[in-house]
Subunit: 302 residues, 2 copies
């Protein structure tokens, strides 16, 4: 077996969910877990997302076939640098970081070179607005996409690490994921639009409402599903998103600026036929065509 | 019984859902339905959200204790004006229109005066991004708030109409709603923030993505729950929202402008500590406190 022993550094929401998904899908080897917050590792163990708590993360990494790095982007960056000199070429490091450009740049030269460990940069498009091992859930990967951004560097990893990289991709399929390979820069650009922009819009909207309506009970009472959905991500942690804002700033800023302009355009056209064009485009994005009232398959009396 | 016979003018998504909720919650009298699109009335009948199709809406209204007006705001406005001179003082008109200021202004003098029918302006905070009688669903009112905006005018309706208005409020409770009474102007202001702003943001975001990524299969593939939620309302119909944009323009424009400014502020502070303030405020809106990783109730090993 290419992967018999796994270390997870960062056993919070995503790291814990991966451990859970491994066990739910038949992985029977040891899963050593470590977290900088010891209580998170303890919860991960209690919930059986890991099989043991690692006392020392470096030792745990050295004893494993695959090391999974999970957490904010800068924490993954730090581990990438720390682990490169202490792992063997047959070992594989993979991660679940939300921004890939900076990680792949930093890994170049440190991994996937003769005498160096393998690195398979990954990013499951799954998550929750809550964090922590207590919210870990192996089923969040069902039907999601797990992105990989190996680039040309990946070709240089050792045969053993390659075997483990292929086995890891197989595991993500068992979790219920489809995998897509992207160039790291394109990954960061696309994720700015489909993930980071929605997050920052939801944060801005939630912050605005909190500022303006803090003590207004009516506002909270009357908001329905639309408000709940559009502000759900307002609960997301700064600790995770600070790193994304830092490491993908250019693409995120470009997407925010484009949306600001779009909102201005819409606001200036609330009473003009331009508004129809915006709804038509939006309908096409969601429905593939302009909105039509639903009719039943067989129309009665026709 | 104060309400034995009901006419629903506009048997699409909301009108149809009200008919369904009435029947699911024990209303056994006739529900006459009419829609300007005859197929919608036919579907409403086939789905038993109404008990008969009204050939002539005016006659159906005249034969009913309560007339429910459902549809875009301007269509409700038109019916309010048409029905005022042809109904008796003991009859009650109520509606589900999304903007109340303009409807209440126009109804003043026409309703709730000696010799005039009663008018109870209402607005259930429930809906879907899809439209039409085929999507009607009596359960959408469960746990929602049904707003009423009678104002001082309401005190002038006839005793019989008042009895029907009270009975109608009772029915909304049976549908699973909590009712809140608001001044029409405050209603429109609050709804701009909790309902109209989320809609227009979702429309703008969806339209932007359609414009920029129309043929990009990767974008659609990798978008997860965040993208789906933030663009769900992009499917909403222009026909409904055009009237809301027209009749609540000032409040909607003010809310959009405030969000534009907020997004600009966030964009300019992606790398500064201001970003933490925005996340803290957003966390407070959703969680009542800054985000903390979830810990289990009983912490293991403590």
């Amino acid at each position: 077996m290419a992967i018999e022993r796994i270390a997870i550094l960062g056993t919070g929401l995503i790291g814990g969910s991966v451990g859970m998904a491994l066990r739910q899908n038949g992985f029977t080897g040891p899963i050593l877990g470590w977290d900088r917050e010891v209580v998170q590792a303890a919860i991960a163990l209690a919930r059986e997302t890991i099989t043991e708590i690692a006392g020392d993360p470096i030792t745990a990494a050295q004893q494993s076939d695959v090391v999974l790095l999970s957490g904010p982007v800068f924490s993954i960056l730090e581990w990438l640098e720390k682990l490169a000199p202490v792992l063997r070429p047959d070992q594989l490091v993979t991660d679940v970081g939300s921004v890939k450009g900076i990680l792949c740049e930093r890994a170049a030269g440190l991994y996937n070179q003769p005498g160096r460990p393998g690195f398979l940069p990954g990013h499951p498009m799954a998550g929750k607005e809550v964090s922590g091992a207590a919210n870990a859930d192996g089923s969040i990967f069902h039907g999601a996409v797990w992105l990989f951004t190996e680039g040309a560097d990946g070709a240089e990893m050792s045969a053993e690490a390659r075997e483990r990289a292929n086995a890891w991709r197989e595991w993500t399929h068992r979790f219920g994921c489809r995998t897509i390979d992207l160039d790291p820069k394109r990954h960061d650009e696309l994720c700015a639009w489909v993930s980071h922009l929605p997050q920052f819009v939801s944060t801005a909207l939630s912050a605005l409402l909190e500022d303006k309506f803090r003590d207004d009970e009516d506002l909270r009472a009357i908001g329905g599903r639309a408000l709940r959905e559009m502000t759900r991500l307002g609960a997301s942690p700064y600790s995770m998103w600070r790193d994304i804002a830092h490491t993908n700033e250019e693409a995120v800023a470009a997407s925010l600026y484009a949306l600001e302009q779009r909102l201005t355009h819409l606001r200036e056209n609330l009473k003009t036929p331009e508004l129809r064009k915006e709804f038509d485009l939006a309908n096409r994005f969601r429905l593939g065509r302009p909105h039509k009232p639903a009719k039943t398959e067989k129309r009665p009396n026709q």
